[in-house]
Each structure stands twice: as structure tokens, then as C-alpha cells.
């Protein structure tokens, strides 16, 4: 039985045809994967389905009835809930208050808190979460927050829950937990639309999938009838030979940067590792393993409590990012939009901002030098943009990320720390970023790579350092690593403790 039929949905924005005659059919109780490159129209379609925006034309039939959605509230009333990638919880309120936000029990002047928390507890139980509903949301982990969002969706008696890239922030055990929750929800008769860039998950969790490209539906199929290549072909629109660049035998040089007994109180404990010239070092671990904190310390963005970071054999006194950059260490931060780029500024300004001295003389900017530098970076990294004057916001996720990498290149970095460089980037653009990373290592630069996508980490890294809860749990050679091995190492001593 079909719970949802969207027929002939079209939507245009000024200058862009975002959706063209899209049909989407979802069966009751299934987990339906929705895949496609950035800009393929997945988000727009889901915004229409959740009442955030309205379609120009087309019909939505839900539970056998034609429905019209003029606002998110309409959608919630109909039984459609969406969990956005950027979670929409209020950090300073309790879990229970968040779940029933705006709908607390009782009268406005006398709330029945007992009911709020009792019902919250029941909802949380249904999603397999054991957090106390009186806990403040800001004290939860991202994974716990996800489950609170799901519980909130259930509180609306949702029949259909849309999950927009939940795995962008989860990995390993947290993700497995979410999958269990999804399975138990479907057993309760709830239907899930699952958006993801990670194909493994589609195979793992989804019954059917729909592939979108350029605002159209390419295909809808049972997952068991398709393979990885089929999906990639559908997303990219052409054959993508290999997802990852081939591993080339190479010679790595001498040690350039080392971290010795690094300690950040409460987060990182006695972490040591080193990276050599021309080497790609992967930092593997779950969210909360201290990966990002370590990266930021290396780069001088945050302070640490103990230990030492040595660069080119000498103690690195990177008390701020400026010193790290001038010494030759660069960071591609976790969140490119808020930390890597100035999205409202043109590509040119973004590319040159980490090395203004190279485009100036005696403190005065040299427009032509800057323009040429930006042009050549765009060419080297094959950044797809009409020109260097394009606003960075208008670029696709993958190309935005290349701009951030380009910024690091222009600062003449010798060690580049990449924190989640392919998060929210589609398959085609991912491969281009992988090629750039290989290219960097080929030029003798050292890369420290952080990723929640362990396949990607394994395929790219020459060596992996496995972190868990702020400790180094072991080291693996790139060629011998598998996700299982990483997990095994990460959790090795835990049972014993």
C-alpha cells in the first residue's frame, strides 16, 4: 500500500528550475532511501513535503487523500515530520520541553510537568533512548539529540518521518543504534524517508530507493535489485570508474610534525603520533573521540593542557592560527560554511584570505596579482565557478570545499589538516577532492585526514591512528585496515576496563 504519492511536482526559483515533474511513491512501513548529488533537488522536494515551501504545480496524496501543505504545521498535523540535518532543538531547554515545545501539557499558567516528562519518557523509550527527559539538551551528545528529534517527531503522531542526512554527524556505534531505532519504528508501522550521501547505509537500512539528478527522478527501485555502481551511475549521470583513486606505491619522507603526549582536560589524554612528508595520515574514531580537538590544537586554534607539538624537529609555538599558517600548517575546518569560508564574499577573496602578504606590497593590495593567483588556483583545483568573482555561497558543496583547500594551498602549507572534507559532498565531487588530496601528498605535503566515513579514510590513508574517547588505541597500515579492524581497536580495551 502506498502511504505517499507525490505527482508531477515542479518548483522553480528565480533563475533555477529546481524540480521538474517529479513523481515519488512511498510504501507504508518502508525505509525509502533518497539519494542524489548536491543540488539534485532532494532538499527542495522534502521541503515541499514538509510544508516549508510550496510547489508550483503537482499533487501530494497522503494516506489516500489529497493534501495541501501551506506550512510546516499543516504537514505535522497530516502526520509528516522532518528531522533536519541542522538539529532544531533548543539547547537550553530540557529534553521533555523540547519534545513538547509549544504544546506543553496543561494551561499556560499551570503546566503539568509530570505529564510532560512521563510522556517524554515513553516516547524516548520507543526510540530506544534512555536519557532522562529532564536533562538539558545542550548536555546531550549529537547522537542522543538525533533520537530526541525522532521522539519529537513521534509526539506528533507522525506516520512519515523524513531524515535528512542523519549520518553526517553520526558514525560507528551511534549510527548502528539509529538504524536499530529506524527498524523498530518501521515495525510500529512508521514510514521513513532516509536521505544520505553514504551508499553503504542505503544497502544496510533501506528497502527501496529513489535516485534524483538535476531536479528529476532518475529511477525508483527495490534496493535488492540494484548495486553500488548502478546508484553511482544514476547520481552522477555517467560511469564513475572508481569511487576512490588507486593506491599508488610511494616513498614518504622524514617526519615533519609530531604530537607528543597531547592532553586536553576531559577530552584528549596522552595522545602521541607523527606524520611524515608526503604521507596521508588518517585519524579514525567516532565523533567525540577527540579528533577535531586534536586537529584544532595542532593548528593553534585552541589551547591544550599538556604535551607538546613539534614541527620540523622543533617545538611548535602555535599560540594562534596565524603562527601556524605562517609556519606552514593549514586547517580545512570541520564546518566549511561557518569556519572555512566567507560565503557572502567572492571566491577570489576566499582563496587569498590566508596569505594576504602574497597579494600585497608594502601593505597595499595588488588587484592584478590577486586576480591571477585566484584564477590559477581555480584552474589547478578545477573549481567549477563561472569566475573568481562568483559569491562562494552559490558554489556547490564540493566546489566550496575545494575553495577552502585552495586557500590552504595558497598559504604554502606543508602540513594540511583536513577535518571532514567530504561531509555533505556528493559522490562525483568527493572523488575530485580525493584526487586533490592525493595530489597534495604527491607534491610532498603531509595530510592529516579526519573523516567519519571509514571507507574513505581507509582508501586514502597510508597510515591510520585509531582514537577512542581521547586516547590512541592503535595504529593500522592503510592497506591492512578495514572498518571492522578499526572498531575492534577502538573498543579493544573497553570491555576489559
Amino acid at each position: 500500500m502506498n502511504i505517499l504519492e507525490m505527482r508531477g511536482i515542479s518548483k522553480s526559483f528565480p533563475g533555477v528550475q529546481a524540480l521538474t515533474n517529479v513523481d515519488l511513491t512511498i510504501r507504508k512501513g518502508e525505509v525509502h532511501g533518497l539519494v542524489g548529488a548536491n543540488g539534485a533537488g532532494k532538499s527542495t522536494l522534502m521541503k515541499i513535503l514538509s510544508g516549508v515551501i510550496q510547489a508550483d504545480s503537482g499533487e501530494i496524496h497522503f494516506k489516500g487523500q489529497r493534501i495541501r501543505l501551506h506550512s510546516p504545521l499543516d504537514a505535522q498535523r497530516a502526520g509528516i515530520s522532518i528531522i533536519h540535518q541542522e538539529l532544531s532543538l533548543v539547547p537550553t531547554l530540557s529534553v521533555g520541553e523540547n519534545i513538547f515545545l509549544g504544546r506543553l501539557h496543561g494551561k499556560s499558567y499551570s503546566l503539568r510537568w509530570k505529564d510532560v516528562y512521563k510522556q517524554s519518557r515513553e516516547l524516548l523509550k520507543r526510540v530506544g533512548s534512555h536519557v532522562d527527559p529532564r536533562t538539558l539538551v545542550r548536555d546531550l551528545s549529537v547522537a542522543q539529540m538525533q533520537l530526541v528529534e525522532v521522539a519529537k517527531a513521534l509526539s506528533f503522531n507522525a506516520d512519515l518521518i523524513i531524515m535528512d542526512e542523519p549520518s553526517a554527524v553520526l558514525s560507528g556505534a551511534d549510527l548502528a543504534h539509529l538504524f536499530n531505532t529506524i527498524k523498530s519504528l518501521t515495525q510500529q508501522g512508521i514510514t521513513i524517508i532516509y536521505i544520505s550521501h553514504r551508499l553503504d547505509e542505503i544497502f544496510q537500512i533501506c528497502n527501496r530507493l529513489t535516485i534524483m539528478r538535476d531536479g528529476r527522478v532518475v529511477d525508483s527501485k527495490d534496493v535488492k535489485d540494484v548495486d553500488r555502481d548502478f546508484i553511482i551511475r544514476g547520481i552522477v549521470g555517467r560511469d564513475l570508474k572508481d569511487e576512490y583513486p588507486p593506491r599508488k606505491p610511494k616513498t614518504v619522507g622524514e617526519e615533519i610534525l609530531s604530537v607528543q603526549s597531547l592532553t586536553i582536560r576531559g577530552k584528549v589524554h596522552d595522545v602521541s603520533f607523527h606524520v611524515r612528508r608526503g604521507e596521508i595520515l588518517g585519524l579514525a574514531g567516532l565523533v567525540g573521540s577527540g579528533r577535531t580537538e586534536i586537529a584544532r590544537c595542532i593548528f593553534g586554534a585552541d589551547r591544550y593542557d599538556g604535551g607538546e607539538i613539534r614541527f620540523k624537529g622543533r617545538p611548535a609555538q602555535f599560540t594562534n592560527p596565524r603562527k601556524a599558517i605562517t609556519s606552514g600548517v593549514a586547517l580545512v575546518p570541520e564546518d566549511r560554511k561557518s569556519q572555512g569560508l566567507i560565503t557572502k564574499f567572492p571566491v577570489r577573496l576566499n582563496l587569498t584570505m590566508a596569505a594576504l602578504r602574497k597579494i600585497s606590497r608594502n601593505g597595499f593590495l595588488r588587484p592584478r596579482v590577486e586576480r591571477e593567483a585566484a584564477d590559477s588556483l581555480v584552474k589547478t583545483l578545477s573549481i567549477k565557478t563561472p569566475s573568481v568573482e562568483q559569491i562562494a555561497l552559490n558554489l556547490s558543496g564540493g566546489n566550496q570545499q575545494k575553495v577552502v583547500v585552495g586557500k590552504c594551498l595558497f598559504s604554502d602549507a606543508e602540513v594540511i589538516v583536513l577535518d571532514e572534507p567530504t561531509r555533505g559532498v556528493d559522490v562525483g565531487a568527493k572523488r575530485e577532492i580525493y584526487d586533490v588530496i592525493h595530489e597534495l601528498a604527491g607534491q610532498g605535503k603531509s595530510v592529516i585526514l579526519i573523516s567519519s566515513d571509514w571507507d574513505e579514510l581507509i582508501a586514502l590513508s597510508d597510515r591510520l591512528v585509531v582514537l577512542h574517547e581521547g586516547r590512541v588505541k592503535g595504529e593500522l597500515n592503510g592497506s591492512e585496515a578495514t572498518p571492522d579492524r578499526i572498531l575492534e581497536l577502538a573498543l579493544a580495551h573497553e570491555r576489559g576496563e
Binding site: P14, F345, P346, M353, G363, L365, S387, E389, Q390, N394
Partner: protein, 330 residues
């Protein structure tokens, strides 16, 4: 780096930015036309000079404030700074002579900026902190100004140098106008053509991204405060020279007038964009408005109301436009 240049390749945005650049200019033109219809004496050389002389003090403060605002902070200490420099130069004049008094006051202006910037660096202050810290520093300065004259206005000693700031002429143009013009040109060049200027925009547009790109964000903001303090000190010299006296309450309300001029010109109070030309337009707009009211023989209470209306209208229209931009974006 005007927005026009930023957006060469995005015609829609360029069109919108053209509107936002031209809006205040259009307002200024309309106001000028209205003024010349209402009062035939408006377009006389004498009156135009008057308008320019009267906006010089406001304008100098607004120029410095433009840099502070683009970098993502506010400087509310300008009010106290104006009062202090105003009485300070007159008091110091008797002891050290005019020249040294002027130099000391200008240095104090820079020093106040240094203090503002240092405190905000130490507390890692955000935009909100800049409002409170500079307000506090400004209040202290006001109090020092009041204490040093026991709350009374004092008379200045006129000499050639002192009078020059209010009444001097360079190539037939009055000194306040020349000072305003020079300040505008210099700061325009700084913003548009120097690494420092670029860093101001980057800092204001995305503080964290700028910091992670190695921009010394707090130092940049500190220098904008120092420039702001200096500009206000120059403004104070003009003020005391024009009135041949000094009042310890001359700065009351000055900080908000300065901010209003910056905002009316179209510089975003959220930082990261704006330029000197916009500010000059905003300053002239306020100057012409005041002048009309005086020419019409209306009271200061009407003047206050008109200023209020213009400020609200300018920000309202600007917000309306950006709200539409946000909604129109896919």
C-alpha cells in the same frame, strides 16, 4: 572594495546592491530638492558651507565608526571621547600651549581606542561585549570631562592654531570641510586598497573563518578603535574651535547620531560590508535634514522627531530589502 565590484558576475545581486547603494543617495537628492523648494536660501554658497561645517564633527566620528562597524564591533565610547577631548584641549591649552594640547588630545583619542581594543581582546568580546565595554569606557570618559570642569562650560583661549580648526581655510575651503574630506579620502583608500582594509572586511564578515585564516582579528579591531578615537578627537577640536568654548556634555547622544549616519548610508550594522562613500552620504543626509528644519524656523523638538523618522525609515527599508532577498533565494 565596493559591493559593486564584489558582485561583477552576479547580475541579480548587483542590481539589488545597486539599489541599496543608490537608495540613500536618492534620499539625499530628494531631500536637497525639497530643501531648495522650501527655502530659496538653501542652495546659496553660504548655506551649503554651513551645512558642511556643521556635519564635520558628526562626519569625522562616522568615518571612524564605519571601520569599527565593518569589523563587527560598535564603538559607543565616542560620546565620552568627544566631551573629554572637547574640554581637555581647552584645559591643557593653558598649561602646555595650543599645539601640545592638541597633540596630547589626539594621542589620548588613540589611547582610548587602544584601551577599548585591549579589554575586548582580553575578554574575547563579541559584538554584544563591544557595546557594553565601549559604553562603559565612554561613561568613564564623560565623567572625567564633567569632573575636570566641575560640570561647567569653559572658555577657550583663541590663537591662530586653535581658530584654524573651526574657521581656517585651505584653498578657499573651510578647515572642517577639508579635515572631513581628507579623513574620508584616507580611510576610503585604507579600506579599499590596503591589506588592513581587507582584513577589516574579512573579520567583520566571518570572525571565525578570518581567525582560522590567520587574520589577527583582535588586533585589527583594536586598530579600528584607535582610528575611531583619533577621528573623534579631531572632531572635538573643530567643535571647541567653532564655539570658542568647551562643554563637558557636548558628546551626549553623539554615539547614536554617528551610528545612525553610518546605518542610514547603508552600511550593515552586522559587519562585513559597507564603505566610506555610503557613510558620507548618510552624514550629508542628516546634515541637510537638520538644515531644512532650521531654515524653516522649526524647533529642535521637531528636528529630533524628523531625525528619528529618517533613522527608522532608513533601517526599515534596508531590512525590508534584505528580508526579501533572503526569502527570494532558493
Amino acid at each position: 572594495m565596493s559591493t559593486l565590484e564584489l558582485n561583477k558576475e552576479a547580475p541579480q545581486r548587483r542590481y539589488r546592491n545597486l539599489l541599496s547603494d543608490l537608495g540613500p543617495l536618492l534620499g539625499l537628492c530628494v531631500l536637497t530638492v525639497v530643501a531648495s523648494i522650501i527655502s530659496p536660501s538653501f542652495l546659496t554658497k553660504q548655506n551649503i558651507t554651513n551645512v558642511l561645517n556643521q556635519v564635520a564633527v558628526l562626519g569625522l566620528g562616522a568615518l571612524g565608526m564605519t571601520l569599527v562597524v565593518i569589523s563587527g564591533y560598535f564603538d559607543l565610547s565616542v560620546a565620552g571621547m568627544l566631551s573629554l577631548a572637547n574640554v581637555g584641549v581647552v584645559i591643557l591649552q593653558t598649561r602646555f600651549g595650543t599645539l601640545l594640547a592638541i597633540v596630547i588630545m589626539l594621542l589620548i583619542g588613540v589611547l582610548v581606542g587602544l584601551v577599548n581594543g585591549t579589554i575586548l581582546r582580553v575578554v574575547r568580546g563579541d559584538f554584544g561585549a563591544s557595546i557594553m565595554i565601549t559604553f562603559g569606557v565612554g561613561t568613564i570618559l564623560s565623567s572625567v570631562a564633567l569632573m575636570s570642569t566641575n560640570g561647567f562650560s569653559i572658555h577657550a583661549q583663541e590663537d591662530a592654531l586653535f581658530s584654524w580648526f573651526g574657521y581656517g581655510r585651505v584653498l578657499g575651503i573651510s578647515a572642517p570641510v577639508v579635515l572631513l574630506f581628507v579623513g574620508a579620502v584616507v580611510l576610503h583608500i585604507v579600506l579599499r586598497h590596503t591589506v588592513f582594509g581587507r582584513a577589516i572586511y574579512l573579520t567583520g564578515a566571518n570572525f571565525e573563518a578570518a581567525r582560522l585564516s590567520g587574520i589577527p582579528v583582535y588586533t585589527i579591531r583594536m586598530i579600528t578603535f584607535m582610528i575611531s578615537g583619533f577621528m573623534v578627537a579631531v572632531g572635538a577640536l573643530i567643535e571647541s574651535s567653532q564655539t570658542v568654548s568647551a562643554s563637558p556634555v557636548v558628546g551626549v547622544g553623539y554615539e547614536l547620531n554617528v551610528l545612525a549616519a553610518v546605518a542610514i548610508g547603508g552600511t550593515s550594522l552586522m559587519g562585513g560590508e559597507g564603505n566610506i562613500i555610503r557613510t558620507i552620504i548618510g552624514v550629508l543626509l542628516m546634515g541637510v535634514l537638520d538644515n531644512i528644519i532650521i531654515l524653516m524656523g522649526l524647533t529642535t523638538s521637531v528636528q529630533m522627531m524628523a531625525e528619528g523618522v529618517v533613522i527608522v525609515a532608513a533601517i526599515f527599508l534596508d531590512r525590508l530589502k534584505s528580508a526579501r532577498q533572503l526569502l527570494g533565494r532558493p
